[in-house]
């Protein structure tokens, strides 16, 4: 029995890895078919990860900084989607929860006057609370009326977009109809030191709350009885209810915590990457990125961290690919294919079994041949 368990666990890790590999193969094929060289893409990716450009031999640490900047928000939206997944909920609303977090962060950044040591934590907290409350809506509707969370969260994404734009433009005021006034220095996560060691990248202190969030995700789900009861709801709602767990309450709480992760992402983007509140023409895709990150990371903290960095590279290497003549949208294509391959896990499992079967068969034949030889 133990053997079967171990086998399925290793296969669980193999599926996302195979999906990532297949995604890159498909991406390379798309590049080849459209008459470019995939090698240029891989060079751009290596440059994005290490800062080294193999083809020209130059080194620029700015690329590493930008990789972290791109990875931070999608690790957080990945935690958001993953947390809800573990309770059996599909949260497509990370995008909207992120926007509400960004809006609350903007409000606190512009209206509160405090030293940085108080101002910054207050901003991050405001983002988490706003994201959590926005996430509570689909959680409540699911728990109370059994309304499917997928449709509700999609609708709330668009609602959040317009609420954000209205508030930014009409409450906080904007001369150019795009952004608010600049935040005071006490509100910012920006750091001249971090920018300095990465040759002027946008790297900022945001990575600290992101790291804490990854730890919190792991601790809540794996180390507390509350997390256990959340996971129980995700495994089997009816059994959890029969065991005396408060299924409805857990759904709402799970969505609140999930929303808080996305809200934190909004706060980190607003005060780290930018220094002003923004009105958006359309959603920026952090929510969809989060779904990809959570799926590839198998809804576990270490996996989400790694998957966030992986998709962060695809984003940060985009401009490098573009300058090498490969449209940067290839990153999106690869990401979508990886999600598709993860969804096709039955197909991938069959493929893996087929490969393993062939290898096992070869081994058996080898052994038989050896015996015959002796």
């Amino acid at each position: 029995m133990a053997d079967i368990g171990a086998g399925s666990k290793s296969r669980k890790v193999l599926v996302p890895l195979a999906a990532v590999a297949l995604g890159f193969v498909l991406g390379s094929l798309v590049i080849l078919i459209t008459g470019r060289s995939p090698l240029l893409m891989f060079n751009a990716i290596i440059q994005g990860v290490t800062g080294f450009n193999i083809m020209s031999g130059s080194f620029n640490p700015r690329h590493i900084g930008e990789l972290v900047v791109q990875a931070m928000p999608i690790i957080l939206t990945g935690l958001c989607v993953g947390f809800a997944f573990r309770t059996g909920l599909f949260n497509i609303g990370a995008e909207g929860q992120l926007m509400m977090g960004a809006l609350a962060a903007t409000a606190v950044a512009l209206t509160v006057r405090a030293p940085a040591a108080i101002h910054v934590p207050l901003i991050l907290l405001a983002g988490m609370v706003a994201g959590g409350l926005w996430g509570a809506i689909p959680g409540f509707l699911k728990a109370r009326f059994n309304v499917h969370e997928v449709v509700v969260t999609i609708m709330l994404n668009y609602t959040a977009l317009h609420v954000n734009n209205y508030t930014i433009l009409n409450v906080f005021g904007s001369v150019d109809r795009v952004k608010t006034a600049d935040f005071p220095a006490s509100a910012l996560l920006k750091s001249p030191f971090l920018a300095g060691i990465t040759n002027g990248s946008r790297l900022n202190w945001g990575f600290i709350p992101v790291a804490l969030a990854v730890l919190a995700f792991w601790f809540i789900l794996e180390k507390t009885s509350f997390g256990y009861s959340l996971r129980a709801v995700g495994f089997n709602k009816d059994a959890a209810k029969y065991a005396g767990m408060k299924v409805e309450r857990n759904m709402v709480l799970s969505m609140i915590i999930a929303g808080a992760f996305a809200g934190l992402a909004g706060a980190v983007i607003t005060t780290g990457t930018f220094s002003f509140g923004r009105a958006l023409p359309a959603a920026e895709g952090y929510g969809f990125d989060g779904i990809a990150v959570a799926l590839v990371g198998m809804n576990h903290a270490p996996g989400i961290l790694l998957a966030g960095l992986l998709f962060g590279v695809l984003k940060s290497a985009g401009p490098l690919m573009q300058s090498a003549g490969i449209p940067r949208e290839i990153g999106g294509i690869i990401q979508a294919s990886i999600v598709m391959f993860v969804a096709m896990k039955l197909g991938i499992e069959r493929l893996l079994i087929l490969l393993r079967g062939r290898r096992a068969k070869a081994a058996v034949e080898g052994a038989v041949a050896e015996e015959a030889g002796v």
């Binding site: 309304v147 895709g285 969809f288 779904i291 949208e329 294509i333 999600v339 969804a343 896990k345």
Partner: protein, 318 residues
């Protein structure tokens, strides 16, 4: 409020309503067969891209015909693209929401990538003319109704209405429609009666791809001058909402399509309508989404949607 404004709103509202209705009918076919299709948005993007590209490329050779061929190209592209969703969710038993999400992400990347390859920019080239508005002779002379529905209207609106009738007929009056609905309600029972659930669900998803692709082409060729990443801007999700709002019936979808069409353009006219002028524009943008949530809550607990939609079909399960 004067009635003239309402009359003035009609042609524009119908222009917005047509793609919503067509895409929602697509969703109807898919969900009635038991496959949730949240990829309507992505399929519309692919259809719009194909429609705009074909129109731009054929325009010099076939002026006048190009947009119609573009529409067909959008339809074909939608079928091809939805094939991915069908294969993943029917053959490989993928989670239908995840597979749909993958398609939505893929559509944005793929279309802009191809724009860069074909046109060397983030969007297609602008076409010199999309579909042309028509005025129906004789019918336009009917008082009131003539001005509302038959003067300076895009022909795609009539296509949408024809598709509503056709969908009603196919889904509720033909053997295929009965099989489709059976697969969406109880696939195991349908299979026990000798229906090939896989084939019926494939048909449902591919028809939804065709209609969503057509809707995308309609949208770009009536409301835009070229395809960009924001051409569809959530209309596929509004179509999904229309399906819920219209209780998965073609007539309901038509009503919801009218409703959302008017809701979308209301914001342009608030300044002229006294009691609405004081409200922020954004409120009218939000309206369709909030109403969808309200509708979901109202319908909650009542079994209005196909029972097995979203459920993976497993032959072994009884």
């Amino acid at each position: 409020m004067n009635f003239g404004i309402v009359l003035e709103m009609f042609p524009i509202a119908l222009m917005f309503a047509a793609p919503i209705m067509i895409a929602a009918l697509g969703g109807l076919f898919s969900e009635r067969s038991g496959v949730v299709n949240i990829a309507l948005e992505g399929i519309m993007m692919v259809g719009a891209f194909a429609g705009a590209t074909v129109t731009v490329l054929l325009e010099p050779a076939l002026p006048g015909w190009a947009p119609w061929i573009g529409l067909l190209a959008g339809l074909a592209a939608g079928v091809l693209f939805s094939l991915l969703h069908a294969f993943a969710s029917i053959n490989l038993k993928a989670d239908q929401v995840i597979s749909g999400t993958a398609l939505n992400i893929l559509a944005g990347g793929l279309t802009v990538y191809l724009c860069q390859i074909i046109f060397r920019q983030q969007r297609t080239r602008a076409f010199s003319s999309g579909l042309r508005k028509i005025t129906v002779p004789l019918l336009e002379d009917i008082p009131l109704v003539g001005r509302m529905f038959f003067e300076e209207i895009y022909p795609t609106f009539y296509v949408a209405i024809a598709l509503v009738v056709l969908t009603w007929f196919v889904v509720f009056k033909t053997p295929f429609g009965l099989r489709l609905r059976a697969c969406g309600e109880h696939p195991q029972a349908a299979a026990s009666m000798g229906i090939n659930v896989y084939r019926v669900r494939y048909a449902g998803v591919l028809i939804s791809g065709a209609l969503a692709g057509l809707a995308g082409g309609t949208m770009v060729l009536t409301q835009d001058i070229q395809y960009t990443l924001s051409t569809i801007h959530g209309t596929g999700f509004i179509a999904m909402a229309s399906l819920v709002f219209g209780k998965w019936s073609p007539w309901g979808v038509m009503g919801a399509g009218f409703f959302f069409g008017f809701a979308q353009i209301l914001s342009y006219y608030t300044k002229d309508i006294g009691f609405l002028a004081a409200l922020p524009q954004e409120m009218f943008y939000i309206l369709p989404y909030i109403l969808t949530i309200v509708a979901l809550v109202i319908f909650a607990g009542k079994t209005v949607g196909p029972k097995a939609a979203g459920e993976i079909y497993d032959q072994g399960k009884r």
